[in-house]
Structure formats: structure tokens, C-alpha cells
């Protein structure tokens, strides 16, 4: 159950080792949160990255659920397992994602299947499973980590961009369907975030870090916002980028 000062009792992170996901937990877990579930492929790793968080909240009841983020068909079962452990799911953060930067898909096109399964198909089944549960709960908030990469899919990593474009649009439409049910979805569109996922990549303007993304999510989570950008000015930048004629868009050094 959520309380009157915007704190949810039961919080779940899908992609339990995600740096952005963990940063969000650091903001969201405060007095009033009783149960936390970390859903991850590697429980030991999830345990390691959440040590600080768990240490500073000794009363927190922490559960682990193992899953394969690319096994879309298993998601229904995973959500049921989470609910069995803690009851109502008050906040679910979906932070599972594969970037696969630099992958030569021309050589091994089949390598994109995993990316699509994790970023799109798996996340879609997860969103439906969580939505249906939260609808019958009469409340609940899903935080979906999307990306500006889906705003206008660019060359270099079109697979990643296409999955983000897909999941972003899907989540917004699903949120529309949830209107009036008490459940809702917050779509988070970060720009370039410096994490292990992006080590070695060259930084771009308006890059940000997980803490900043987490700050923005914390503020938006108890509001009625549907979309947030991190950092915020990306909203206006992409309004322009999205509408540039192809001839100009292709000349940009992006």
C-alpha cells in the first residue's frame, strides 16, 4: 500500500543489477517502504550492488527472484512469483535493457533477437502482467526506463533505437488504457547516461548520470506525469530533432 506522504510499501526492480535501477531505489526506498524485490539474472550480483542500500535500511525485507530477461514467455510467471512473495506490487521499476553497442549485425543478424526479447518483447509481457495485477489492486505505478534513442532512431545502433521506440509507444498506449483504474505508467527518457552499459563510448552533449535520472524519477513518481526526460532540456531538443527534414538529420554529427 502507498501512504499519505508519497511512499510505497512494496517496491520491485526488474533488472536488479541495473545502475539506473539501483540509483532509483536509493531515492525511492525511505521510511515507510517495507519490502523490496530484486528480480535479476544473477542473484549474487544483485546482492552485491544493493549492499549499501540494504545496509542503510535494516528493517527492509529484501527478496530475490531469478529470471531471464530475454525469456518473454516466462514474465507472467515471474510477476506471480513476486506477488506471492510480497503481496501487492506498489511500484515496479522496469530497468532491464541490452544496448549491444558496436555489434556487427550485418555479420550475425540473429544477435538482434536477444536485444528485441529483452528490450521489447519481454518488457511488453512484463507491462501487461503488471498492469493487469495493478488494475485489480486499484492502484500501482510502473516506471519504464525508455530512452531518447527511441525518439528518432539513428544509424549506429538502429536495433536498440527501434526497441526503445517500440516499448515507449507501447507503454504510453497501455497507460492510456489504464486510465481511471488507479494504475499508471511513467515513461522515463534519459539521454546518454554514464554507466557500465556506456563505458568506452564517447560522451555526447546533455549526458547525465544515474543519480540525476533517479532524482527526476523520484519527483515524478507521485505526480500524474506520463513522460519525464533526463536531463529535462532534452525534451525541447528532441522536439526539434524529431521534426528535422531527413536531409538535415542525416548531416548531423550524431
Amino acid at each position: 500500500m502507498k501512504n499519505g506522504v508519497g511512499v510505497a510499501q512494496n517496491v520491485v526492480l526488474f533488472g536488479g543489477t541495473s545502475e539506473i535501477g539501483q540509483a532509483i531505489l536509493h531515492k525511492v526506498v525511505k521510511p515507510g517502504v517495507s519490502r523490496l524485490v530484486l528480480v535479476s539474472r544473477d542473484i549474487d550480483a544483485a546482492n552485491r550492488v544493493s549492499q549499501d542500500l540494504v545496509g542503510s535500511h535494516p528493517d527492509l525485507d529484501v527478496h530475490h527472484v531469478r529470471y531471464d530477461a530475454s525469456d518473454a514467455a516466462s514474465m507472467e510467471h515471474v510477476v506471480a512469483e513476486v506477488a506471492d512473495a510480497i503481496g501487492d506490487i506498489d511500484i515496479a521499476i522496469i530497468a532491464q535493457g541490452l544496448l549491444n553497442e558496436g555489434q556487427d549485425y550485418y555479420n550475425t543478424p540473429s544477435h538482434l533477437v536477444d536485444v528485441v526479447n529483452v528490450n521489447l518483447t519481454g518488457a511488453m509481457v512484463l507491462l501487461y502482467s503488471l498492469s493487469s495485477r495493478m488494475r485489480s489492486q486499484g492502484y500501482g505505478k510502473i516506471v519504464l526506463l525508455s530512452s531518447v534513442a527511441g525518439e528518432r532512431v539513428r544509424k549506429g545502433n538502429p536495433v536498440y533505437g527501434a526497441t526503445k521506440a517500440g516499448i515507449d509507444g507501447f507503454a504510453l498506449a497501455l497507460d492510456h488504457e489504464l486510465e481511471g483504474s488507479g494504475a499508471s505508467i511513467l515513461v522515463v527518457r534519459p539521454g546518454f547516461v554514464t554507466t557500465k552499459m556506456t563505458t568506452g563510448m564517447k560522451k555526447v552533449p546533455f549526458s547525465t548520470d544515474p543519480e540525476h535520472v533517479a532524482q527526476i524519477v523520484e519527483k515524478a513518481i507521485s505526480s500524474d506525469k506520463k513522460i519525464v526526460w533526463a536531463p529535462a532540456p532534452l525534451h525541447w531538443m528532441f522536439l526539434i530533432l524529431k521534426n528535422l527534414p531527413i536531409a538535415i538529420w542525416r548531416r548531423l554529427p550524431l
Binding site: G4, V5, G6, G32, Q137, Y139, G182
Partner: protein, 457 residues
């Protein structure tokens, strides 16, 4: 499906709302409820999530627009009122004051139903004198989750009676009650007002060693933003119902309360902030006479000043507000002071801060009042860091042997209820006996574990 919140307008959830006072409809609604259960709701004046039920059913029992009229019968000689639980104190006062009878206990608003008043075991400015609402209930009929209707009173099944008083609606739906009213000569109140320069003066004036026990009604407004030597200064108002002579009226029992204005729906967040409240407090304190002053006031002005503004809860904007009410033992005024200092240091302003000395506890395990000091504060819900701040204040209260008022609770932890209410487990086993399948559920019950959630799911 309908979105619901408490009076504080926080923690909205969606439920299936059935508005009815018909016993058969209530029974079949309960019988057909889904696994998220049922809770009764009256006029929605409890501040938090006591009368909402996410994903489940809410039975709304109010008779404000009942075409059959107000279901209440007063025996004018004994002052015993037989009344449906859906009737509000407002309707009761309109019926009874002109005949010389007053409600035995009224909270700060008259827009609460009898059912809600029993379920929260509400108290008023006369707690040190008359106790809480449940102590004036002679008997009541309650529908259990099974659909069976039982009659409860302090002598007939007292365990179930006292579990229902203050039981937050989690033992059954109160259908009717018989209430002993208080005889009055006039509809006026004789009020003594005095300004007290600091917190020590406030505590001294209200302590039981002084003359406070002579007054039926006693409450003190406290300025939480005053600092230094003026910290905790206040305006103390005490009084009793005026005699015919004191009322100086040709029509001493005339009663005509009116709603003056409505707060608009577009109030911005943050309008009630540290600065605006500081300015208000200064005016309010200065407005009170420096020397003890005796005046005659009307019932609405003395008991229900906030009811003059319809929907005043909108003043806090879309983020809503919480009301923080706790009690600590009589000898722990140090904790009151520490709490006030903590809020003040964090820059948290409270538009309404009220201190009252409570009398002895009654027989209900979950009834809030117990001998001690209770402090009540309004706080805007959107303040940054509020969860952490409240957690630290909760710990001070509990460490001092105090507790929190469930009808106003917005945030305390499940363990806070168990620590604060020593008879909690006893209440829980009575509750389980009255509702073995765990049908009665509210968002408050879910958050605080007032119902075993493994039942019926």
C-alpha cells in the same frame, strides 16, 4: 469504479463504490465482494486511508440526500437518540439542539456520520470531562461479514462492542446506534479566552493541577512558528454550554449553522507555506485578548469553525495534506517540546496546531485517547523529506510511551500500531473471531496489517 481518498486528499485509490443504506443491498454486496474485501465509508472526513479500499468494494452509508428524511428518533425526556449509522452529527444537531439536547461528543467537524464516529471513537474538546464518543453509545446493531446482524452494548457482548468502538470499521458495518445525548439550556457556549505567552504557560494552564478540570470544554491553539521565548505560545479557549440567562437570547435554543464559502478547486500547491502561516499565526495570536476574556459564542463558531468553509481541505492544493496527531503521557511535555522544535527546525509549518489534555482511556483496545497530551498538526503532503522527518518524530512519540490516532494516520509503520496500542493483539483476535474470512479491509488496514491479508485471498 471510483477514485477515493480521505479528507487529506492523498493516496488516492480506485474501488467499486456502492451507495446505499438498505440492509439487504449491503448484505448482498458483502456476499458478492471480490477477494479485496469491503469497507464502509461515511462522509469521508477521516484524513487518511481508513474509508477506502483499493481494488475492492466500498459501501457508502450517508443519508444526506435520503428522500425518506433523517432516520433519527429523539426521546425528549431521556435524551436517548435512536439513529441510523448513516446520519451525520450535522443532521442530529439540527434535530436535537432546538429541543435542548446536544451531541455528547463532537470532533472539529459536524460532517461525520454516527458510524464513522463510532469506528474512529472520535473525541472532542471535552475528552478530559466526558470521554470519547463510544462511551455514550448505549447499544448498536452491527452487520457481520457473514450477513448476520448482532446487537452489541457494554453489557451485551462487551468484547465485540468495544472492539467495534475505535475498530476502524474492521469488525463489521454499524447499522444503528442508541446514543445518550447531553441536555443543554441554550445553543450558546460561554467561552473564556486567554493568551499564553509561551509553551510552559500553555502546559501550566491546561494541567489537571489547575482549574482546567472545572471546564467541560478546553483546547489550546498553538503557534508552532513562534521562536525564542515565545516558542509554543497559544490561545486557550475553555467553556461550557451557556445557561438561558447567560445566552441573553429570546430564543435560547435557536440553531441555524450555515456554510459561508467554498474553497475553489484550483488552489495552487504551496499557498499555505511557512510565510503565509507565520503571518496568519501572528494575526490570530494578536487578535486574542491579552487578558482572560469571557464571551458568548454560537455552537458552530466554538465547535466547528472550519465547517464555515466548505471543502477547506482544498486549501492545500492538489498534493493534499496530512494531519499528524499523537498523544504522550502527562509527564512527557518534554517530548511535545522536542516535537515542536523538530518541526520548526525543519521549517515545516502547520496551519492548524492544537493541544489538548485528555482524560482516562476507555475500554476499547484501539481507542486513541488515553491520559496525556495530544498535539494535532496539519502539514502539506508535498514537503521534501517529510517521510524521514515523520519517522524521526514517530520514534520520539513511541519511545515516550505515546501513540498515533488511526483516524488521522497517513504514514506510520505496522510496528508503530503494535507498540502504541498494548492491547492490539487482543483486538486482532476479537476481529478475527468476528470476521474469520478477513472480508473487512481498507487501505489503512492493508498498510498497517490490521487484517491478516492471507485470509480470503
Amino acid at each position: 469504479m471510483q477514485r477515493l481518498s480521505g479528507w487529506g486528499r492523498t493516496a488516492w485509490t480506485v474501488a467499486d463504490v456502492i451507495s446505499t443504506t438498505d440492509v439487504d443491498t449491503i448484505r448482498s454486496t458483502v456476499a458478492h465482494a471480490n477477494n479485496r474485501g469491503v469497507i464502509a465509508r461515511g462522509l469521508g472526513r477521516s484524513y487518511g486511508a481508513a474509508a477506502q479500499n483499493a481494488g475492492g468494494t466500498v459501501v457508502e452509508l450517508t443519508s444526506e440526500h435520503d428522500p425518506m428524511g433523517i432516520d433519527a428518533v429523539l426521546d425528549p425526556t431521556t435524551g436517548v437518540l435512536d439513529v441510523a449509522s448513516s446520519v451525520s452529527l450535522d443532521s442530529i444537531l439540527r434535530l436535537c439542539v432546538p429541543r435542548g439536547w446536544f451531541v455528547p461528543v463532537t470532533p472539529g467537524t459536524r460532517f461525520v456520520t454516527v458510524g464513522g464516529a463510532i469506528a474512529s471513537d472520535v473525541h472532542g474538546k471535552n475528552h478530559h470531562f466526558d470521554g470519547s464518543f463510544g462511551q455514550h453509545v448505549l447499544s448498536m446493531t452491527v452487520m457481520l461479514a457473514s450477513g448476520e446482524i448482532v446487537s452489541l452494548s457494554p453489557s451485551e457482548n462487551p468484547v465485540w462492542f468495544w472492539a467495534t468502538v475505535g475498530g476502524m470499521g474492521l469488525t463489521g458495518i454499524v447499522l444503528r446506534a442508541s446514543i445518550q445525548m447531553l441536555q443543554i439550556e441554550s445553543s450558546k457556549v460561554r467561552v473564556e479566552t486567554e493568551r499564553l505567552a509561551n509553551f510552559d504557560a500553555v502546559c501550566d494552564a491546561m494541567s489537571g493541577d489547575g482549574d482546567d478540570d472545572k471546564y467541560r470544554y478546553s483546547v489550546c491553539w498553538v503557534d508552532l512558528l513562534a521562536t525564542g521565548s515565545a516558542m509554543g505560545r497559544g490561545v486557550l479557549t475553555r467553556g461550557d454550554h451557556a445557561t438561558v440567562a447567560e445566552s441573553e437570547s429570546d430564543d435560547p435554543l435557536h440553531y441555524d449553522p450555515r456554510l459561508r464559502v467554498s474553497a475553489p478547486g484550483w488552489m495552487p500547491n504551496g499557498l499555505l507555506n511557512k510565510w503565509s502561516i507565520k503571518a496568519f499565526n501572528e494575526t490570530w495570536y494578536r487578535k486574542a485578548p491579552a487578558k482572560r476574556h469571557i464571551g458568548i459564542e454560537s455552537i458552530p463558531a466554538f465547535f466547528h469553525p472550519l465547517d464555515g468553509v466548505n471543502k477547506w481541505n482544498r486549501l492545500y492544493g492538489s498534493q493534499g495534506f496530512i494531519q499528524y496527531q499523537f498523544i504522550v503521557p502527562l509527564d512527557r511535555t518534554d517530548v511535545l517540546r522536542k516535537v515542536i522544535e523538530t518541526f520548526s527546525a525543519a521549517g515545516v509549518a502547520s496551519f492548524l496546531a492544537v493541544l489538548k489534555r485528555m482524560g482516562p482511556q476507555n475500554l476499547a483496545p484501539l481507542s486513541f485517547p488515553t491520559e496525556g497530551w495530544t498535539l494535532t498538526l496539519d502539514i502539506a503532503a508535498g514537503i521534501k523529506g517529510l517521510a524521514e522527518l515523520l519517522a524521526s518524530v514517530d520514534a520520539m512519540v513511541l519511545d515516550a510511551g505515546g501513540r498515533h490516532y488511526l483516524a488521522k494516520d497517513s504514514h506510520v509503520s505496522p510496528s508503530a500500531v503494535r507498540r502504541g496500542y498494548p492491547r492490539f493483539e487482543e483486538w486482532m483476535s476479537t476481529r478475527d473471531a468476528m470476521d474469520p474470512d478477513g472480508i473487512w479491509r481498507s487501505d489503512l488496514a492493508r498498510r498497517l496489517g490490521l487484517v491478516d491479508l492471507r485470509r480470503n485471498s
